[in-house]
Amino acid sequence: MIVDVHTHYPFGKHQNLDRIDRFIDLAQGFGIGWLCLLGDVLRHGQFPDEAQVREINDLTLELVRRRGDVLSGFCFLNPANQTAFCLEEMERCIAGAGFVGVKLENALNCRDRRLDPIMEKVRESNAAVLHHSWSCPWLKEAQPQFSNPADIADLAGRFPDVPIIMAHLTGCGIRGVLDVADHANVYVDTSGGQPVAGLVDYAVRKLGVDRVLFGSDAPGRSFAAQLGRIYGADLDETARQAILGGNARRLLRI
C-alpha cells in the first residue's frame, strides 16, 4: 500500500470538506491507499493563535472522523503559543483521536527551547514530528522563524529518540540531506517543489532507504508528478516499495 505522508486538506482553493472523497478518489487512482493530513497550516498565516490552531485541528478531526478508513491526522501546533495549550491540543488529537504525529510549520524556529515540552510529549506518545523545512537563506526575509535543515539537525540532536520527518526533499536539496545525515532519527519526505532529477536517489544513498518517505504535498502538488519522481528514480523495487509505503507504515504504525 502506498502511503502519502504529506497532504493538506482543506488547503488553498480546496476548502469544501465534502470534496474530500474526490481528493481520496484521485489519490486511489494512483494506487495511494493511505493519506496523512497535516492540516490547513497557512489558513491563518504564519503565527496562528490558539483559537486558530484549534480550528485547523478541528477540520482535520472532522475529516479523519469521516474517512478514518484511509486518513491519519497530524496535530498542527504553533509552539509559540502557551505550552499548556499545545500539550492539551496534543492530548485532544493524539491520545483522544488517534492522530499519528505533530506538524510544525514556520511559527517558531525549531532551535527555540519552547519546542522541548512538545518534543517530550511526542516521545511519550510514541508519535512523530513532521517539520516544514527548506534550504533557502532568503526565505528568512518573509518567514523569520522558518527552520532550515541545519535547524532540524539541532532539534534532532536534542531529541535523538524522537522521530522527525523533515519535509520537502526538493526544497532541502543536497545541502539539506547532508545537514541531517548524521542524525538517524531524521527522516525526509519527498514532497514539495519540482521533481528535481537525482535527489531521491541521492537521499537514499546518503541516508539509507529506511529514512526516505513518499509525500506529495497535494493538493498544492499533483499525485502524478510527485509519484513520478519515485517511479523515475534509479532504485530497485525493494527500495521503491519501502519509500512508497513500507517505511511510513512502520514509523507511523499505519
Partner: protein, 246 residues
C-alpha cells in the same frame, strides 16, 4: 508517439545529471516512451559563444535522428540571423533571464519579427530552476509574464512556446494569447492537465519534461492522467509536430 519539446544536454554547476550525452539521452527517453525530443544546450546558459555551444550540441544530436537540436540565441549579440537560415521551421530559444535582456530589447523585436515573417517559433525559457532553489549568489528572476504577453500581442502571427512556466502563468498567458504555447514540465497542481485544460486550449499545450533537470517520469505521469484522449494525443505529439514541422 510522444515528442518532448523540453530537453537539454550539457553541464550545469548546480546539479549532477544522469544523461550527459546524446546516446544516454536517447536511451533514457526511449525507456520513458519518448520517441523524439527537442534538445538545447545547457552550456549556452553561461557561455557567451552560443554558436560554439550549438556546435557542441550538434556533435551529440547529429548521430541520433530522434534528437532535434534547438539553437539558443542572444539577440543582443550580432550573428543571430544565421540561426534562421536552413531548411525546416526556424525556431530558436531565448534565455532572457540568464542573458540579461528584456523582451522589449531592439534585438528581440527584430528577431521576433523575422521569425514571424518566416512562420517560425520563438521558444522562451522562462526559468531553468525553481527560484527558491537557486544558488544564493546566482539568483536569476524568471521572465515576466507581462513582457511575454506584450510581445505576443504585438506580433499575433508569431508563435511562441514558453518553457518551464508555472501553472497560473500558463493559464494567464495561453488563456489570453492564442499564439502562446506552454510545456507541461513545471506546471503542477492537483489533477494538473485536466485543470489546465479548463482554461487553455489543448492545441496550446505541449509535452515537455525538462530532462535532465527534472525527473522525466513526472511529466509522463502528468500527461497519462489526462482524461481526454484526444487532448492527450495532441499534447503528446501532434502539437509539437504541427508547431515545429516535425
Amino acid at each position: 508517439m510522444r515528442i518532448d519539446v523540453n530537453t537539454s544536454l550539457g553541464c550545469w554547476p548546480f546539479q549532477r545529471f544522469a544523461q550527459t550525452s546524446g546516446t544516454e539521452l536517447v536511451r533514457h527517453l526511449r525507456a520513458e516512451g519518448i520517441d523524439r525530443a527537442l534538445v538545447s544546450s545547457i552550456d549556452a546558459t553561461f557561455d557567451p559563444d552560443l554558436h560554439a555551444c550549438d556546435a557542441d550540441l550538434r556533435t551529440q544530436t547529429d548521430p541520433h535522428p530522434e534528437l532535434v537540436p534547438l539553437s539558443t540565441v542572444n539577440p543582443t549579440l550580432p550573428g543571430w540571423e544565421r540561426n534562421l537560415e536552413g531548411g525546416g521551421v526556424p525556431a530558436v530559444r531565448l534565455l532572457p533571464g540568464y542573458h540579461q535582456y528584456g523582451l522589449d530589447a531592439v534585438g528581440v523585436r527584430k528577431l521576433a519579427g523575422a521569425l514571424a515573417e518566416r512562420k517560425g517559433v520563438l521558444v522562451i525559457q522562462v526559468r531553468l530552476e525553481d527560484e527558491r532553489s537557486h544558488y544564493p549568489l546566482c539568483r536569476i528572476p524568471p521572465v515576466e509574464m507581462q513582457a511575454i504577453r506584450l510581445l505576443a500581442r504585438a506580433l499575433p502571427e508569431l508563435r511562441i512556446l514558453c518553457l518551464c512556466c508555472y501553472g497560473e502563468t500558463a493559464k494567464e498567458l495561453a488563456g489570453t494569447c492564442r499564439n502562446v504555447h506552454v510545456d507541461l514540465s513545471m506546471i503542477e497542481e492537483l489533477d494538473t492537465v485536466n485543470r489546465l485544460l479548463d482554461e487553455v486550449a489543448p492545441e496550446q499545450v505541449l509535452f515537455g519534461s525538462h530532462t535532465p533537470f527534472l525527473t522525466t517520469r513526472a511529466a509522463v505521469m502528468k500527461l497519462q492522467a489526462c482524461s481526454d484522449p484526444d487532448a492527450a494525443a495532441a499534447i503528446a505529439a501532434a502539437n509539437a509536430r504541427r508547431l515545429f514541422g516535425l
